[in-house]
Every structure is written in structure tokens, then in C-alpha cells.
Symmetry: C2
Subunit: 282 residues, 2 copies
């Protein structure tokens, strides 16, 4: 008991990054290879996405079908809207036969069974926010949970309500969390590596950040499901059930590292990003 108090006192002065660096190996969880989607741009740069099949299974089955059919090979990034989203793919071409043309609105699911842990701070959009199974999640207090539009989250482009989009076009958030999109679009995952290959692209000059001239589209060589045996790196996330994550979240809300004068005493869910890392060799 004394030791854990001392450990807590020591942790109080660590930065969030230091807490993550000191997390025990047991707190890290492998991301399943089939849950990785790797976009290789024509210039050779890659963007790695972790899919969230527990939250949008039909949309994600569609995305797997698009990838397996090489549907996106030669497509492009067609929209870069500042402080909002980068979007890619092609909703104008016929989808492969395995794609469900009208997926259900997978905008929320029962919270039960997700392992949700509340952060405990007030939120403008939801009854509670927190994390579940490595994802940022919000809840209405009535047993429903949904993924949150934090920076780097990936969703399915769609047309006007109530269409849900097939997954032929995907977007990633590159600005302040557009939480008004929560429960209005299917979120399917997050960028785990290479976000800067999207967020630093030139902004589109057309309405909604679309590149008015298709010649400006950023060409995509291919998008494949990840397979570490095929050379894609393996990734891990810090378990959001772990004591290390709880300590990290407290530190994000109460910064005591040297730069800070005044800890906030709170944090919004998008300012408590789930730590990610390449799986150590061995």
C-alpha cells in the first residue's frame, strides 16, 4: 500500500508520454492484422488505419471487399478541407459484387460488453465520454455508445441523410473534433500512422475543400488490408482497461510536468488519445 502511494506520488510528476513509456508490456494489446488497412500513395508514403469492426461491421466488411477487389488502386484523395477532413476513394464507380450497397446506419451500438470506462468529465455532446476497447467512445446514458469524431478518426463519406455510404469514399478528421458528425456518419477506425501524409496536403480550392481540378487529386497506388507477414508493421494500443491508461488519462487532465502552471482538472475525450506503438520485435 505504501509503495503504491509512493508510485502514485511519483507518477503525479510524470508527463503523459513518460507514463506511457513506463507502461508494463502486459498493458499493450496487439491490433489484429486483418484490422489494419494500409494506403500507399503514389509517392510511396503510407497511411495505416486501424479498423473498428466491433462498431461498424457491415461497413467494414464493405471496406475489406473494396480493398480485396483492389477497387481503390489508382484512385485519389479528392478533398482536403482545412480544420475538417481529408477524403479519398471513388463513389462514382460501380462497387464490387461483395459490397453491400445500402449498409445499415451503424452509428451507435449497445455499450454493454464494450468495456467502457468513463473519463468522468463534462461534455457538450454526450452524457458521458471515455474509452472502450482502445477507442474513444461517448454514451447517451441510456445504454448506447458510439465512436467519437476525434482527430485522426476515419469515417464513411455519404450523401444526404439517410444514406449511409458504401465505404467507397472514406475520410479522416484533420481538425478540431467535428463532434456534430457523431451518430450522423459511420465511423470505422482511425489513422495509427502517417496522418501527416493527409493533414499536410494542400487544401482543396473548391466547395467543401474538394479539389476543383481532378488533376490535383493526390494519387493512391493501392489500399490493402494489413498483413505483417507481407511486410506491414504490427501495431499495438495501450489497453484502455489498464491501470497505466488510467494514470495516463489522469495526467492528461492534470498536467504537472514542468511546462505547466495550472492543471486543467479535466480533459475532453479527444485530448486523451489512445497511445499507439509499433509492436516491439522479439
Amino acid at each position: 500500500m505504501l509503495l503504491s502511494l509512493l508510485a502514485a506520488a511519483a507518477a503525479a510528476s510524470l508527463s503523459p508520454a513518460e507514463i506511457v513509456a513506463q507502461a508494463p508490456e502486459a498493458a499493450w494489446r496487439d491490433i489484429a492484422p486483418q484490422d489494419l488497412l494500409v494506403m500507399t500513395l503514389a509517392d510511396g508514403g503510407t497511411v495505416t488505419i486501424q479498423l473498428a469492426p466491433g462498431w461498424a461491421p457491415v461497413h467494414i466488411a464493405n471496406i475489406a471487399a473494396f480493398a480485396d477487389a483492389r477497387f481503390w488502386d489508382g484512385a485519389g484523395i479528392n478533398r482536403v478541407q482545412d480544420n475538417y477532413v481529408v477524403q479519398w476513394g471513388d463513389a462514382t464507380r460501380a462497387a464490387p459484387a461483395a459490397v453491400q450497397p445500402k449498409p445499415p446506419a451503424e452509428y451507435q451500438r449497445p455499450l454493454a460488453g464494450t468495456g467502457f470506462r468513463a473519463l468522468g468529465f463534462p461534455d457538450a455532446y454526450a452524457r458521458q465520454t471515455g474509452h472502450a476497447g482502445g477507442w474513444p467512445v461517448a454514451t447517451d446514458g441510456k445504454g448506447n455508445g458510439w465512436l467519437v469524431h476525434c482527430y485522426g478518426m476515419v469515417g464513411v463519406g455519404r450523401d444526404m441523410s439517410p444514406d449511409t455510404g458504401t465505404g467507397a469514399e472514406l475520410y479522416a478528421v484533420i481538425g478540431h473534433a467535428p463532434r456534430h458528425l457523431d451518430r450522423n456518419v459511420a465511423l470505422v477506425g482511425r489513422v495509427v500512422d502517417g496522418i501527416e501524409r493527409l493533414s499536410a496536403l494542400p487544401r482543396g480550392d473548391g466547395a467543401l475543400g474538394v479539389y476543383a481540378d481532378a488533376a490535383r487529386h493526390v494519387p493512391i497506388a493501392r489500399i490493402r488490408r494489413g498483413d505483417p507477414d507481407a511486410g506491414a508493421p504490427a501495431w499495438q494500443y495501450l489497453s484502455t482497461d489498464s491501470p497505466a491508461f488510467a494514470t495516463y488519462a489522469r495526467a492528461r487532465a492534470n498536467r504537472h510536468d514542468a511546462f505547466f502552471n495550472l492543471p486543467a482538472g479535466g480533459a475532453d475525450v479527444c485530448n486523451v488519445p489512445v497511445p499507439l506503438r509499433r509492436k516491439p520485435a522479439g
Copy 2:
């Protein structure tokens, strides 16, 4: 009365952008030319910043002194950290004599007299959030208010606490609002035009997004206080006291335009950005 009810009903289906477009001329406020700071990059692109002298007067007097002394001419953008900040200037050179070397910690001020209007939604960081005199503001419920680190806000780089920075280096937020910086750094304004010339820059490869090689710094031709007579455009903001702003804020929190299935019923202060425009000719 009937007409205003009808107008309210009609407004309920308008998008936030439509509400702003229909705002009466009387709802727009001029930004004083001396409150504009125009950064011209070596490639000719410009970034226009509105300063907030009501919130950090000593820091802003310093910034004016740096600009008037042409201190930043030939300096560079030295840091681009994804989902965080872009930083520029030069804290290594001697400041002009007119610069106060140790400004006070202008991190908050009395809320009285600012015209604060609460948004009315819960917040993880503050007792209340809202707007005052065209700025995003938070309060502790004890009479103190402070500017909020929303996307595009500009602050003063500093070293470790309790140093406050002279203003020789400034930063702009280019990611999810880093609200943990609120009341830990002096905010001095916001980017009103040209944010994409900062947010789309290549990310820095060193620690904290610093460009490890100074040769990668993005060169700044000059930074001057704005003067429309000298060719800088005049800008206006939508008065945050106006009925039009209140209607706009409600619409941001309750999206009923065609794309949306489910209005959020709330919005965080950084998702209710103050509308800005070039002052119409005439």
C-alpha cells in the same frame, strides 16, 4: 411577434453558413486596423492575425514593438507539430528596446465588462464557455475569464513555467483544441485569413515538431501591423452580442440542415467559431 416566430421557424432549417450570410449589416463589427498583424511569407503568401489587446495588452504591445522594429523580417517558421501548433519567430536574438522582457502572466482577466455570453453547454475544462467581444472565452465561475485555445488561436511561445515569453516567438493552433494550455500561455489573437499557409506545411521531423535542420525553416519576408490604407484588406467579425450570432450558435449545436439525421443538442466553444469576413466595399 408572429413574424419573429415565423423567422425563427425558418431559421431552424437554415445551415449555420446560411444564417451568417443573412445576418444584417448592423451585426458586423470592424476589426481595428492596428489590431491586425500581417505575416508575408517569402513565397508571397500572407497570414492575417487579429490581435486581442483586451486580453493580453503587455504581450500585444511587445508584438507591436517587434513588428515596428522589423524584428521578424527574414525570420522563419521553425516548428510544425501535427495536431498541435505551428510556431515562428526568433527567441534567440536580442529584442528591441521597446519590448518588455518579462511581461506579466496575462492568462486571464476579470470577466466583467467583456460582454460575455455563455453558450450554456457543459465543458470539461471550465465552469462555462461562450463568447465575449468576438472571442471564444471560458470562465471559472468566480469572475475570471480567459481566451480559449481553439483552432487558429495565436499564443506566445515560452520556456518553462513561470516564464511568459516576450512575443518573439508566436504559435498558431493547427489541431484539436489543446485546452490544457488555457491559462498556461498568453493567447494574443487568432488567424483570420491564411491559416492553410500554416496548417498545410510539412511537419517538423525533430522533437515537438521542430525542423531539425534550420535549412527547412519556412522563410518569412516580413510581419507588419495591418493598415488598410497600405493595401491590407479590412476585416469584420460577427458581433457575439448580436441576435444573428445567437441564432448561428444554436444552429451549430442543433444541425437541422439536410445532411444531418440527429442534431447534437450541444456544441463545444471551439465548434462555434466566430464568423469573419472581409469588409464589403462601399
